[in-house]
Symmetry: C2
Subunit: 224 residues, 2 copies
Protein backbone atom coordinates (compact mmCIF):
# COMPACT_ATOMS: atom_id res chain seq x y z
CA UNK A 1 0.00 0.00 0.00
CA UNK A 2 1.23 3.47 -0.89
CA UNK A 3 1.49 5.98 1.93
CA UNK A 4 -0.40 9.27 1.73
CA UNK A 5 -0.68 12.31 3.98
CA UNK A 6 -4.27 13.50 4.50
CA UNK A 7 -5.00 16.93 5.98
CA UNK A 8 -7.76 16.35 8.53
CA UNK A 9 -9.57 19.12 10.38
CA UNK A 10 -12.47 17.27 12.00
CA UNK A 11 -14.93 18.77 9.52
CA UNK A 12 -17.16 16.97 7.04
CA UNK A 13 -14.99 17.75 4.01
CA UNK A 14 -11.64 16.48 5.24
CA UNK A 15 -13.23 13.38 6.81
CA UNK A 16 -14.75 12.59 3.41
CA UNK A 17 -11.33 13.02 1.80
CA UNK A 18 -9.79 10.58 4.30
CA UNK A 19 -12.52 7.99 3.58
CA UNK A 20 -12.01 8.51 -0.17
CA UNK A 21 -8.23 8.03 0.06
CA UNK A 22 -8.75 4.86 2.12
CA UNK A 23 -11.10 3.51 -0.58
CA UNK A 24 -8.45 4.36 -3.18
CA UNK A 25 -6.17 2.01 -1.29
CA UNK A 26 -3.77 4.41 0.42
CA UNK A 27 -2.24 3.85 3.83
CA UNK A 28 -3.29 7.19 5.31
CA UNK A 29 -1.31 9.36 7.70
CA UNK A 30 -3.65 12.05 8.99
CA UNK A 31 -2.27 15.48 9.87
CA UNK A 32 -4.08 18.14 11.93
CA UNK A 33 -2.98 21.53 13.19
CA UNK A 34 -3.45 23.25 16.46
CA UNK A 35 -3.16 26.83 15.32
CA UNK A 36 -4.74 28.92 18.00
CA UNK A 37 -8.14 28.24 16.55
CA UNK A 38 -10.81 29.06 19.08
CA UNK A 39 -12.51 25.73 18.52
CA UNK A 40 -9.92 23.16 19.52
CA UNK A 41 -12.79 20.69 20.04
CA UNK A 42 -12.32 20.03 16.33
CA UNK A 43 -8.98 18.35 17.10
CA UNK A 44 -10.71 15.85 19.37
CA UNK A 45 -13.13 15.12 16.55
CA UNK A 46 -10.24 14.79 14.10
CA UNK A 47 -8.62 12.14 16.32
CA UNK A 48 -11.91 10.27 16.60
CA UNK A 49 -12.48 10.39 12.83
CA UNK A 50 -8.92 9.32 12.03
CA UNK A 51 -9.47 6.18 14.07
CA UNK A 52 -13.02 5.53 12.81
CA UNK A 53 -11.90 5.85 9.18
CA UNK A 54 -8.83 3.64 9.50
CA UNK A 55 -5.94 6.10 9.33
CA UNK A 56 -2.62 4.43 10.12
CA UNK A 57 -1.64 7.31 12.37
CA UNK A 58 -2.75 10.82 13.29
CA UNK A 59 -0.31 13.60 14.05
CA UNK A 60 -1.16 16.99 15.46
CA UNK A 61 1.37 19.75 15.02
CA UNK A 62 1.24 23.07 16.79
CA UNK A 63 1.69 26.23 14.78
CA UNK A 64 1.17 29.78 15.87
CA UNK A 65 -0.76 31.79 13.32
CA UNK A 66 -2.00 34.17 16.00
CA UNK A 67 1.21 36.20 15.85
CA UNK A 68 0.05 37.30 12.40
CA UNK A 69 -3.58 38.00 13.37
CA UNK A 70 -5.80 38.93 10.50
CA UNK A 71 -8.60 36.35 10.68
CA UNK A 72 -11.77 35.74 12.67
CA UNK A 73 -10.57 32.15 13.13
CA UNK A 74 -7.32 33.16 14.83
CA UNK A 75 -7.68 36.73 16.10
CA UNK A 76 -10.14 38.39 18.41
CA UNK A 77 -12.71 39.19 15.72
CA UNK A 78 -16.32 37.98 15.80
CA UNK A 79 -17.30 35.22 13.38
CA UNK A 80 -20.03 36.69 11.12
CA UNK A 81 -23.48 35.20 11.67
CA UNK A 82 -26.65 34.86 9.55
CA UNK A 83 -25.12 36.43 6.46
CA UNK A 84 -27.15 36.78 3.26
CA UNK A 85 -26.33 34.45 0.36
CA UNK A 86 -24.75 37.19 -1.73
CA UNK A 87 -22.33 37.95 1.10
CA UNK A 88 -21.44 34.30 1.62
CA UNK A 89 -20.89 33.81 -2.12
CA UNK A 90 -18.71 36.82 -2.86
CA UNK A 91 -15.40 38.16 -1.66
CA UNK A 92 -12.80 36.86 0.73
CA UNK A 93 -14.48 36.26 4.11
CA UNK A 94 -13.14 37.48 7.44
CA UNK A 95 -12.60 33.81 8.33
CA UNK A 96 -9.87 33.66 5.67
CA UNK A 97 -6.55 32.87 7.34
CA UNK A 98 -3.62 34.42 5.42
CA UNK A 99 -1.72 31.79 3.43
CA UNK A 100 -3.28 29.02 5.52
CA UNK A 101 -3.44 26.29 2.90
CA UNK A 102 0.10 27.14 1.78
CA UNK A 103 1.29 26.57 5.34
CA UNK A 104 -0.79 23.41 5.77
CA UNK A 105 0.44 21.92 2.50
CA UNK A 106 4.03 22.83 3.34
CA UNK A 107 3.78 20.81 6.56
CA UNK A 108 2.06 17.96 4.70
CA UNK A 109 4.97 18.00 2.26
CA UNK A 110 7.51 17.77 5.09
CA UNK A 111 5.57 14.86 6.56
CA UNK A 112 5.26 13.14 3.16
CA UNK A 113 8.98 13.48 2.50
CA UNK A 114 9.77 11.98 5.90
CA UNK A 115 7.49 9.01 5.08
CA UNK A 116 8.83 8.60 1.56
CA UNK A 117 5.31 9.38 0.30
CA UNK A 118 4.44 11.52 -2.71
CA UNK A 119 0.66 11.72 -2.22
CA UNK A 120 -1.09 14.44 -0.23
CA UNK A 121 -4.85 14.96 0.06
CA UNK A 122 -6.82 18.08 0.99
CA UNK A 123 -10.53 18.84 1.09
CA UNK A 124 -10.69 22.02 -0.97
CA UNK A 125 -13.81 22.39 -3.08
CA UNK A 126 -15.68 24.55 -5.54
CA UNK A 127 -17.89 26.15 -2.90
CA UNK A 128 -14.86 27.90 -1.49
CA UNK A 129 -13.34 29.08 -4.77
CA UNK A 130 -14.91 32.49 -4.81
CA UNK A 131 -13.85 33.31 -1.30
CA UNK A 132 -10.59 31.52 -0.59
CA UNK A 133 -7.88 31.96 -3.23
CA UNK A 134 -5.89 29.04 -1.83
CA UNK A 135 -8.68 26.58 -2.68
CA UNK A 136 -8.52 27.01 -6.46
CA UNK A 137 -7.24 24.29 -8.82
CA UNK A 138 -4.50 26.58 -10.16
CA UNK A 139 -3.19 27.06 -6.63
CA UNK A 140 -3.09 23.29 -6.12
CA UNK A 141 -1.22 22.78 -9.42
CA UNK A 142 1.29 25.47 -8.47
CA UNK A 143 1.87 23.72 -5.16
CA UNK A 144 2.51 20.36 -6.87
CA UNK A 145 5.10 22.05 -9.06
CA UNK A 146 6.72 23.67 -6.02
CA UNK A 147 6.78 20.34 -4.16
CA UNK A 148 8.76 18.66 -6.92
CA UNK A 149 11.35 21.44 -6.79
CA UNK A 150 11.40 21.83 -3.01
CA UNK A 151 12.29 18.34 -1.90
CA UNK A 152 15.15 15.89 -2.03
CA UNK A 153 12.62 13.31 -3.23
CA UNK A 154 11.46 15.48 -6.13
CA UNK A 155 14.78 17.11 -7.01
CA UNK A 156 17.07 14.09 -6.81
CA UNK A 157 14.97 10.95 -6.74
CA UNK A 158 12.41 11.79 -9.43
CA UNK A 159 9.35 11.68 -7.17
CA UNK A 160 6.29 13.41 -8.59
CA UNK A 161 4.14 14.84 -5.83
CA UNK A 162 0.41 14.77 -6.29
CA UNK A 163 -2.11 16.76 -4.28
CA UNK A 164 -5.41 14.87 -4.35
CA UNK A 165 -8.52 17.04 -4.21
CA UNK A 166 -11.42 14.60 -4.60
CA UNK A 167 -14.01 17.19 -3.56
CA UNK A 168 -12.81 19.85 -5.97
CA UNK A 169 -15.82 19.76 -8.30
CA UNK A 170 -18.49 18.88 -5.73
CA UNK A 171 -21.27 20.99 -4.25
CA UNK A 172 -21.95 20.66 -0.54
CA UNK A 173 -24.85 18.29 -1.35
CA UNK A 174 -22.45 16.22 -3.46
CA UNK A 175 -19.98 16.06 -0.56
CA UNK A 176 -22.77 14.97 1.81
CA UNK A 177 -23.80 12.16 -0.56
CA UNK A 178 -20.19 11.03 -1.02
CA UNK A 179 -19.59 11.10 2.74
CA UNK A 180 -22.59 8.86 3.39
CA UNK A 181 -21.65 6.52 0.54
CA UNK A 182 -18.14 6.15 2.02
CA UNK A 183 -19.45 5.46 5.52
CA UNK A 184 -18.25 8.68 7.14
CA UNK A 185 -19.93 9.11 10.55
CA UNK A 186 -21.21 12.54 9.52
CA UNK A 187 -22.76 13.22 12.91
CA UNK A 188 -19.27 13.24 14.43
CA UNK A 189 -17.88 15.77 11.96
CA UNK A 190 -17.82 19.40 13.00
CA UNK A 191 -18.04 22.16 10.38
CA UNK A 192 -18.95 25.14 12.56
CA UNK A 193 -16.58 28.16 12.81
CA UNK A 194 -17.83 28.96 16.30
CA UNK A 195 -18.97 25.83 18.17
CA UNK A 196 -19.45 25.48 21.91
CA UNK A 197 -16.59 23.85 23.84
CA UNK A 198 -18.62 20.60 23.72
CA UNK A 199 -18.84 20.79 19.93
CA UNK A 200 -22.40 22.04 19.52
CA UNK A 201 -22.51 24.02 16.25
CA UNK A 202 -23.72 27.63 16.40
CA UNK A 203 -26.07 27.14 13.46
CA UNK A 204 -25.56 30.68 12.18
CA UNK A 205 -22.04 31.01 10.72
CA UNK A 206 -21.39 30.65 6.97
CA UNK A 207 -20.17 27.10 7.45
CA UNK A 208 -23.28 26.03 9.39
CA UNK A 209 -25.54 27.65 6.78
CA UNK A 210 -23.76 25.90 3.88
CA UNK A 211 -23.80 22.57 5.71
CA UNK A 212 -27.51 22.77 6.51
CA UNK A 213 -28.29 23.60 2.90
CA UNK A 214 -26.08 20.76 1.65
CA UNK A 215 -27.82 18.16 3.78
CA UNK A 216 -31.24 19.54 2.76
CA UNK A 217 -30.36 19.39 -0.95
CA UNK A 218 -29.00 15.87 -0.58
CA UNK A 219 -32.17 14.81 1.23
CA UNK A 220 -30.13 13.41 4.10
CA UNK A 221 -30.65 14.11 7.79
CA UNK A 222 -27.56 15.62 9.48
CA UNK A 223 -26.24 13.89 12.57
CA UNK A 224 -27.43 10.44 11.50
Amino acid sequence: MKNAVVLLSGGLDSATVLAWMRREGYACHALSFHYGQRHSIELARAAELAQALGALEHKVTEIDLRVFGGSALTADIDVPKDRADRDIAHGVPITYVPARNTIFLAFALAYAETLGASDIAIGVNAIDYSGYPDCRPEFISAFERLANLATKAGAQDGARFRVHTPLQELSKAGIVRLAVELGVPVGRTLSCYDPSSEGVPCGHCDSCILRRRGFAEAGIRDGA
Copy 2:
Protein backbone atom coordinates in the same frame (compact mmCIF):
# COMPACT_ATOMS: atom_id res chain seq x y z
CA MET B 1 8.83 53.07 2.74
CA LYS B 2 7.66 49.69 1.50
CA ASN B 3 7.29 46.93 4.04
CA ALA B 4 9.19 43.67 3.59
CA VAL B 5 9.41 40.45 5.55
CA VAL B 6 12.97 39.20 6.08
CA LEU B 7 13.65 35.65 7.25
CA LEU B 8 16.31 35.97 9.94
CA SER B 9 18.05 33.03 11.58
CA GLY B 10 20.85 34.71 13.48
CA GLY B 11 23.42 33.46 10.97
CA LEU B 12 25.75 35.50 8.77
CA ASP B 13 23.72 35.02 5.59
CA SER B 14 20.31 36.17 6.82
CA ALA B 15 21.82 39.10 8.75
CA THR B 16 23.47 40.21 5.51
CA VAL B 17 20.13 39.95 3.72
CA LEU B 18 18.48 42.13 6.37
CA ALA B 19 21.21 44.77 6.02
CA TRP B 20 20.85 44.63 2.21
CA MET B 21 17.07 45.08 2.35
CA ARG B 22 17.51 48.03 4.71
CA ARG B 23 19.95 49.63 2.26
CA GLU B 24 17.40 49.03 -0.51
CA GLY B 25 15.05 51.19 1.51
CA TYR B 26 12.59 48.64 2.89
CA ALA B 27 10.93 48.86 6.28
CA CYS B 28 11.94 45.40 7.46
CA HIS B 29 9.88 43.01 9.56
CA ALA B 30 12.17 40.20 10.66
CA LEU B 31 10.78 36.71 11.16
CA SER B 32 12.49 33.87 13.01
CA PHE B 33 11.37 30.38 13.89
CA HIS B 34 11.72 28.35 16.99
CA TYR B 35 11.47 24.89 15.52
CA GLY B 36 12.97 22.55 18.04
CA GLN B 37 16.42 23.36 16.78
CA ARG B 38 18.99 22.31 19.30
CA HIS B 39 20.73 25.66 19.15
CA SER B 40 18.08 28.14 20.30
CA ILE B 41 20.92 30.54 21.16
CA GLU B 42 20.58 31.54 17.51
CA LEU B 43 17.21 33.15 18.33
CA ALA B 44 18.85 35.42 20.90
CA ARG B 45 21.37 36.42 18.25
CA ALA B 46 18.56 36.99 15.73
CA ALA B 47 16.86 39.41 18.14
CA GLU B 48 20.12 41.24 18.72
CA LEU B 49 20.85 41.49 14.99
CA ALA B 50 17.30 42.63 14.16
CA GLN B 51 17.77 45.55 16.52
CA ALA B 52 21.35 46.32 15.47
CA LEU B 53 20.40 46.36 11.79
CA GLY B 54 17.29 48.51 12.19
CA ALA B 55 14.43 46.08 11.68
CA LEU B 56 11.08 47.66 12.51
CA GLU B 57 10.02 44.57 14.42
CA HIS B 58 11.12 41.00 15.02
CA LYS B 59 8.64 38.17 15.41
CA VAL B 60 9.44 34.65 16.50
CA THR B 61 6.94 31.96 15.72
CA GLU B 62 7.02 28.48 17.16
CA ILE B 63 6.64 25.55 14.83
CA ASP B 64 7.12 21.91 15.60
CA LEU B 65 9.15 20.13 12.94
CA ARG B 66 10.29 17.51 15.43
CA VAL B 67 7.12 15.50 14.94
CA PHE B 68 8.39 14.77 11.44
CA GLY B 69 11.97 13.96 12.47
CA GLY B 70 14.33 13.30 9.62
CA SER B 71 17.11 15.85 10.15
CA ALA B 72 20.18 16.28 12.31
CA LEU B 73 18.96 19.80 13.09
CA THR B 74 15.63 18.64 14.55
CA ALA B 75 15.94 14.97 15.46
CA ASP B 76 18.32 13.08 17.69
CA ILE B 77 21.00 12.57 15.05
CA ASP B 78 24.60 13.75 15.39
CA VAL B 79 25.69 16.73 13.30
CA PRO B 80 28.52 15.50 11.02
CA LYS B 81 31.93 16.92 11.84
CA ASP B 82 35.15 17.47 9.89
CA ARG B 83 33.79 16.20 6.61
CA ALA B 84 35.92 16.16 3.49
CA ASP B 85 35.24 18.76 0.79
CA ARG B 86 33.75 16.25 -1.61
CA ASP B 87 31.20 15.22 1.03
CA ILE B 88 30.25 18.80 1.86
CA ALA B 89 29.88 19.67 -1.82
CA HIS B 90 27.73 16.73 -2.93
CA GLY B 91 24.40 15.25 -1.99
CA VAL B 92 21.68 16.34 0.41
CA PRO B 93 23.23 16.62 3.88
CA ILE B 94 21.75 15.08 7.03
CA THR B 95 21.18 18.65 8.25
CA TYR B 96 18.54 19.05 5.50
CA VAL B 97 15.16 19.67 7.13
CA PRO B 98 12.32 18.31 4.96
CA ALA B 99 10.50 21.13 3.15
CA ARG B 100 11.97 23.67 5.55
CA ASN B 101 12.25 26.64 3.20
CA THR B 102 8.75 25.92 1.89
CA ILE B 103 7.43 26.13 5.44
CA PHE B 104 9.49 29.24 6.26
CA LEU B 105 8.38 31.04 3.09
CA ALA B 106 4.74 30.06 3.70
CA PHE B 107 4.87 31.75 7.11
CA ALA B 108 6.65 34.75 5.61
CA LEU B 109 3.84 34.96 3.06
CA ALA B 110 1.19 34.92 5.81
CA TYR B 111 3.07 37.66 7.63
CA ALA B 112 3.49 39.71 4.44
CA GLU B 113 -0.19 39.44 3.61
CA THR B 114 -1.10 40.61 7.10
CA LEU B 115 1.20 43.63 6.65
CA GLY B 116 0.00 44.38 3.14
CA ALA B 117 3.56 43.72 1.95
CA SER B 118 4.54 41.88 -1.21
CA ASP B 119 8.29 41.63 -0.62
CA ILE B 120 9.98 38.75 1.17
CA ALA B 121 13.73 38.18 1.54
CA ILE B 122 15.67 34.99 2.24
CA GLY B 123 19.37 34.21 2.42
CA VAL B 124 19.62 31.25 0.06
CA ASN B 125 22.81 31.08 -1.96
CA ALA B 126 24.79 29.19 -4.54
CA ILE B 127 26.89 27.33 -1.99
CA ASP B 128 23.81 25.47 -0.86
CA TYR B 129 22.41 24.61 -4.29
CA SER B 130 24.01 21.22 -4.61
CA GLY B 131 22.82 20.06 -1.23
CA TYR B 132 19.54 21.77 -0.47
CA PRO B 133 16.95 21.58 -3.25
CA ASP B 134 14.89 24.36 -1.67
CA CYS B 135 17.70 26.90 -2.16
CA ARG B 136 17.69 26.81 -5.97
CA PRO B 137 16.50 29.75 -8.09
CA GLU B 138 13.80 27.61 -9.75
CA PHE B 139 12.36 26.79 -6.33
CA ILE B 140 12.23 30.50 -5.47
CA SER B 141 10.49 31.32 -8.76
CA ALA B 142 7.95 28.56 -8.18
CA PHE B 143 7.24 29.99 -4.74
CA GLU B 144 6.67 33.48 -6.15
CA ARG B 145 4.15 32.02 -8.59
CA LEU B 146 2.43 30.12 -5.78
CA ALA B 147 2.28 33.25 -3.62
CA ASN B 148 0.41 35.20 -6.27
CA LEU B 149 -2.18 32.42 -6.52
CA ALA B 150 -2.37 31.67 -2.79
CA THR B 151 -3.31 35.03 -1.40
CA LYS B 152 -6.16 37.49 -1.41
CA ALA B 153 -3.60 40.17 -2.25
CA GLY B 154 -2.33 38.28 -5.29
CA ALA B 155 -5.60 36.75 -6.44
CA GLN B 156 -7.89 39.75 -6.06
CA ASP B 157 -5.79 42.85 -5.61
CA GLY B 158 -3.15 42.27 -8.25
CA ALA B 159 -0.18 42.16 -5.88
CA ARG B 160 2.94 40.56 -7.34
CA PHE B 161 4.97 38.89 -4.64
CA ARG B 162 8.71 38.97 -4.95
CA VAL B 163 11.16 36.81 -3.06
CA HIS B 164 14.45 38.69 -2.83
CA THR B 165 17.57 36.51 -2.76
CA PRO B 166 20.46 38.98 -2.81
CA LEU B 167 23.02 36.29 -1.91
CA GLN B 168 21.95 33.89 -4.62
CA GLU B 169 25.05 34.19 -6.79
CA LEU B 170 27.60 34.82 -4.05
CA SER B 171 30.33 32.59 -2.69
CA LYS B 172 30.86 32.57 1.06
CA ALA B 173 33.77 34.99 0.60
CA GLY B 174 31.44 37.25 -1.38
CA ILE B 175 28.87 37.14 1.41
CA VAL B 176 31.56 38.00 3.99
CA ARG B 177 32.67 41.01 1.94
CA LEU B 178 29.09 42.19 1.44
CA ALA B 179 28.33 41.76 5.16
CA VAL B 180 31.29 43.91 6.15
CA GLU B 181 30.47 46.52 3.49
CA LEU B 182 26.91 46.75 4.86
CA GLY B 183 28.05 47.09 8.46
CA VAL B 184 26.81 43.74 9.73
CA PRO B 185 28.36 42.97 13.14
CA VAL B 186 29.68 39.67 11.82
CA GLY B 187 31.12 38.66 15.18
CA ARG B 188 27.56 38.51 16.56
CA THR B 189 26.28 36.22 13.80
CA LEU B 190 26.21 32.50 14.50
CA SER B 191 26.53 30.03 11.64
CA CYS B 192 27.37 26.84 13.55
CA TYR B 193 24.99 23.83 13.41
CA ASP B 194 26.09 22.69 16.84
CA PRO B 195 27.15 25.61 19.04
CA SER B 196 27.49 25.59 22.82
CA SER B 197 24.56 27.04 24.78
CA GLU B 198 26.57 30.28 25.07
CA GLY B 199 26.95 30.46 21.30
CA VAL B 200 30.53 29.25 20.91
CA PRO B 201 30.77 27.59 17.46
CA CYS B 202 31.97 23.97 17.31
CA GLY B 203 34.43 24.76 14.51
CA HIS B 204 33.99 21.36 12.87
CA CYS B 205 30.53 21.18 11.25
CA ASP B 206 30.04 21.91 7.53
CA SER B 207 28.79 25.39 8.32
CA CYS B 208 31.82 26.27 10.47
CA ILE B 209 34.17 24.90 7.81
CA LEU B 210 32.51 26.93 5.03
CA ARG B 211 32.47 30.06 7.17
CA ARG B 212 36.13 29.77 8.11
CA ARG B 213 37.08 29.31 4.46
CA GLY B 214 34.88 32.25 3.41
CA PHE B 215 36.55 34.64 5.84
CA ALA B 216 39.99 33.35 4.82
CA GLU B 217 39.28 33.86 1.13
CA ALA B 218 37.88 37.33 1.78
CA GLY B 219 40.99 38.20 3.80
CA ILE B 220 38.84 39.33 6.72
CA ARG B 221 39.20 38.29 10.32
CA ASP B 222 36.05 36.61 11.72
CA GLY B 223 34.61 38.03 14.92
CA ALA B 224 35.80 41.55 14.21
